[in-house]
Symmetry: D2
Subunit: 392 residues, 4 copies
């Protein structure tokens, strides 16, 4: 299993805001943060319903005096604690509409932050937050865990190193069926807030899963669009926001990217596929089968790269994040833990007074979060115009 | 193996025009036409080079006196033969630019026709041909064999029968890498005419494989566009025509279709995938693994329908075209033979004076060919405009 | 498509014995034999029921005077025809118990033969037949089409060329579920004779599919056993013969082979898998996905060899039998046609007076058929003894 | 994420013995034990090299005073601590030859135990240990994590509930290539003790991976052998123990099981496949793709059951151990955590004075460990005899 590069003499202290309801995302943040035994959860404001929040805190092993009723109380309370008890970072796992105000308060108080995506529901807020993070110098990560799978990092290295040649086309298909499950009368359901524009913000599927796809295009394939055209649709009968979309992007060199998004495809779970066409090789990777990367070169047999810490054909830093011997499947949780590990490396450097070797790399930064919010706004703008091209 | 519905007392006589070169398409037409033992190849004009044409004819077992030097001689020569010797139909397997003039001549002379796609390189020609076919009453098929796979017919039946509910979205990805192989200096190569706009017509990849994808959307998913937007690119360094494209289509009910086309993706062979999102079920079918159809419905295990003549869950007419017991892989050749079988059924009815049970079904008609040419023109038009929406 | 190495001035004439019933095997022999346009079916004795045989003959396009009522009449009648009309070879596609007497009669009369497996139901008969074939000098093939898939030939070449090192272990799993379908009351069903020891001979599953697996071990992996141990079982409630078995084999160098056979595994179709462990590489091939061969070497990415006539990493003779461009699936019929092509090459050499380049290679010979019958006897013998080791 | 059924007011305290070297197994036990936030590692004797043990303890966050130099010191030291500090259980992750003496000492001192497999290297030791565990009443688990995958539990329920009918045949193939990597000169390598009979005990591959396969047959398929025959081989040039084997087993009702084991198949990682043939259905599950279970029934489409907490077609207790929404891959670590969760449920009941709802279920018990050792002995005995049947 992965070891931290700079051992801290103590565990890093975490607070969790949101995540105490029925959704899976709170426990996942906790499990991912603690997988490598470097973090301890010590405080939380886990629900907008204080009673439920306290119950969840007890189940998570948080001491009662640090089970806060709101994020405001948490930030105030922790700020007053002595430095050797105070939390080091907060993870924000609330519905979209509250990300900004919580992140702003945390950053202002000097806490480091892991924030769920989309970072904010509004571009102005995202820009404001990015400026504050820079000014306050805190470590800030946005939760795009798919980019932290070992073989996605392998792709990034292969693209950066020229191994696939010029990236000419990128196709990302992100196909889910989860919204088929949401019935009109089921407003109390787990995912029901995802139907509510007041909680979601102006975008549904683009914000919810399109931001992951967009980050993946940027991170893995180094694709940066200069123009975006977006076609959106709502197929679910009671959904007020889009649940389906095609997003076309043009890069500066005439390279193309396509994102296909659906949350209404019966029975498809979380089928995120990345295809890269380079002038020297083509690549395919699927999130649901994440330990295989298919590499094709003209005139050669198809190659399967497997996630395997002993596979010398992988980049060393990729081998290093394969926690188990090959053939012992690693999944979403390990990917998420890789994101936390990179964040914690930076944070550990900060806390121990070291200069970070390469600060802000290895996890999605506040700038990546800002780009994601810009992307959502461009898509919605193009989509409303009937799909015309919008400069990015 | 499939039996003809109305046994002919004799074999049906076939002529082949083109197909005598190194390309695989001529022998494939012959093998597909003769697989069910209903057809005999008796005449040919197999090459634009008469000497090569005669050699190929000998290899195909055509008697020397019926190995013609040109399609004109073939049509003239066969027309003069007594009815009991004359060929019944001609298959046109020449480069795109000659389809029209050959098909026109054959139809005018009263021969039935199987024509390679795209049917013509120009919409006016296609309309003229469709009118002639109607007037002369000949049986005319266009070679879209992918639609003739048993499980594609199963999809069509499931869509028509309401089994998938309302078709909301269709995604067809047709990804090849074959053009990576074509080098600038290799003008003499097998596929070199596909680089030549004088032989190909105004479109490259859209005409070459996009027409198959478009026909599949119409045939399998009953998708008929009212608007098309198309983004084209040329990534191969010496190709004068597009080799990559995204085609968006809107249907009359707000339903959407996406076609993704590539001929420059390293090492991808003939990867044609069809995905249909219905309100009641979603479907996935892949041409490279054609004997499996994946069916998903909310809350149920994923189902794999397998091509199997004894699988009672398949439509009876689909069982009937599974020639072998399940698990004995059937492929492209059998699909192509299914197209011929449907064509020959109609032709057999015509030749024996029966009224066809359901004329013009089961194979792509001249109207389907015409729609394909319209599609190419709409794509090229939208592509040249930078991807704006074009009414269809 | 594959061309014959020595063009015959005429088509080779075929007779079919058996295969006129509901079973698929008769039409498959015909389609496979004629796929390359080198063969014409001119005579048949297609059923033990003369009326049904004549009807089938008409459907197969056989002239009434050559639709014989029995194999005896066929051999007598054809023998009396002038050489330029007489059939060149007969294909025997009858139930197992009649293979020997028909093959013997055909060989005695000087006809070349393609015979279904198992070649005979008794070892003495098989030895007698092998001696007669040698004496009469006829070309004789046994129908093991699985060995004729292009990538199985690739495996054979890789083993022979040392590419996989020393073959240490071979595992062949042949799993079907077809017998689950056979109900007690359904004695009239297609496969019912496979329940009848009088028609099958002393062995069920071992004879029916084990002989294919055994031939594959010998052909692809060059595995020759010196000892066999066999564990048999009958799980189907009314089957008098074995329908399940494990067969262990030891080679002379301590190498091992395992054959796992089932015909009672619900819903499994024709799942024949071959795995070879060499000292330098390991191989996996699956008949239901026959166009891919998986090659693994220590420390390298997994490689997928694809059936592709343009794949230069394949052996030239393997490229040559990939009839279609990669990605156009080829299946069982093409494999069977490869067997016929090799047989016809030898036969063509014989008929044209050429010395065959490499006689008896490329298709299973009468000696291979004899080995298969020996294998069945060894398995039954070991199985009855409770699974003790039997010298081979 | 899974919650404990009876919340403890405190975390359960764990000690780790062994696991501090380069091997992955120590960190995996720790990560699995702590994944659900119920356990805290407080003590360890992590290496036979005390200095390395102390370094590892620091990296694992163990306080220096509880980083012991040997298991004896650990058991003595912890026994002297007050109950509210003392560890509750020890995990034994040392080489095989020391399992017995450590487990015996721990059980004698009243500690609960998780022990790596094989439980002991000798049957007498295993029997002695089982008796001690019963007498002392401690909770004791053996580390067979593959049986703790959610869909393996689904299989067990389907078998127990009669959903697959009578289990007629079981096939388990466990194919690895890891030993290909071990070079003669590399005695210091991670897995080198697996070449050493003094550390391994009398068996190599059977003990190492065969015990997992055997447990899976018993747990998932309820298969209990009455006779075993085993064929062993050593293909690796310097390995003193078997690295390959076929194991045949007969059950009391004439049902059969086959285990195929290899550690020398180039490039195969950890390919453990389970196939069950029942009279009503057949099942296939693969450890390397653990979130899919293939179910086949006669005449129906193939069904894929997916690990998904919202899939109502799964057994409720299986849904409950799918930690993440479907499509977020869960792997080996989660399976191992499921084993710990079941162990901790029993342990929590014990510690809180509750009667366990169903003690000893949900994880492999000391009796399962004993059966595994019996299995190894039977295999070695049969293997040495040349593969004769041995009563079990």
């Amino acid at each position: 299993m992965q070891q931290p590069p700079i051992p801290m003499a103590r565990k890093i202290r975490m607070a969790l805001i949101g995540g105490g309801g029925q959704a899976f995302i709170g426990p996942v943040h906790l499990a991912a943060a603690t997988l490598d035994q470097r973090v301890q959860l010590v405080a939380g404001a886990l629900s907008s319903d204080p009673e439920r929040g306290r119950q969840a805190a007890a189940a998570f092993g948080i001491a009662p005096q640090r089970a806060y009723d709101s994020y405001r109380e948490l930030i105030a309370g922790e700020s007053e604690l002595p430095a050797e008890q105070r939390v080091d970072f907060v993870t924000i796992a609330t519905p979209n509409d509250s990300h900004f105000e919580i992140a702003r308060a945390a950053v202002q108080a000097g806490f480091h932050v892991v924030c769920e995506k989309p970072m904010t529901t509004d571009l102005g807020q995202a820009e404001q937050l990015a400026a504050m993070v820079k000014e306050r110098g805190v470590v800030f990560a946005v939760a795009h865990p798919y980019a932290a799978y070992p073989l996605v990092r392998q792709i990034r290295q292969m693209v950066a190193g020229g191994d696939v040649g010029e990236v000419q086309a990128v196709r990302i298909h992100y196909i889910q069926g989860g919204l088929r499950r949401v019935q009109p009368e089921a407003a109390q359901q787990r995912a029901a807030w995802k139907l509510d524009p007041y909680r979601m913000g102006p975008s549904g599927t683009v914000a919810d899963i399109g931001t992951h796809a967009f980050h993946l295009a940027r991170y893995a394939a180094a694709f940066e669009p200069v123009e975006i055209a977006c076609q959106l649709a709502t197929f679910h009968p009671v959904r007020p926001l889009e649940d389906y979309g095609h997003i076309l992007m043009r890069g500066a060199q005439g390279n193309l990217a396509l994102l296909t998004l659906s949350q209404v495809t019966h029975g498809r779970l979380n089928d995120l596929t990345l295809e890269i066409d380079g002038s020297e090789a083509s690549l395919v990777w699927r999130q649901e089968d994440p330990n295989v990367l298919t590499v094709r070169r003209h005139g050669q047999p198809v190659q399967f790269y497997e996630c395997n810490r002993r596979a010398d054909y992988l980049e060393p830093q990729v081998q290093a994040v394969c926690r188990l011997p090959g053939g012992h499947p690693e999944g979403f949780l390990e990917a998420f833990a890789n994101l936390y590990a990179a964040f914690l490396n930076d944070l550990g450097d900060r806390l121990t007074g070291h200069a970070a070797a390469s600060p802000g790399t290895g996890y999605p930064s506040v700038i990546d979060g800002l780009e994601g919010v810009r992307f959502v706004e461009a898509c919605i703008s193009s989509g409303r115009s009937g799909g015309w091209w919008t400069p990015f």
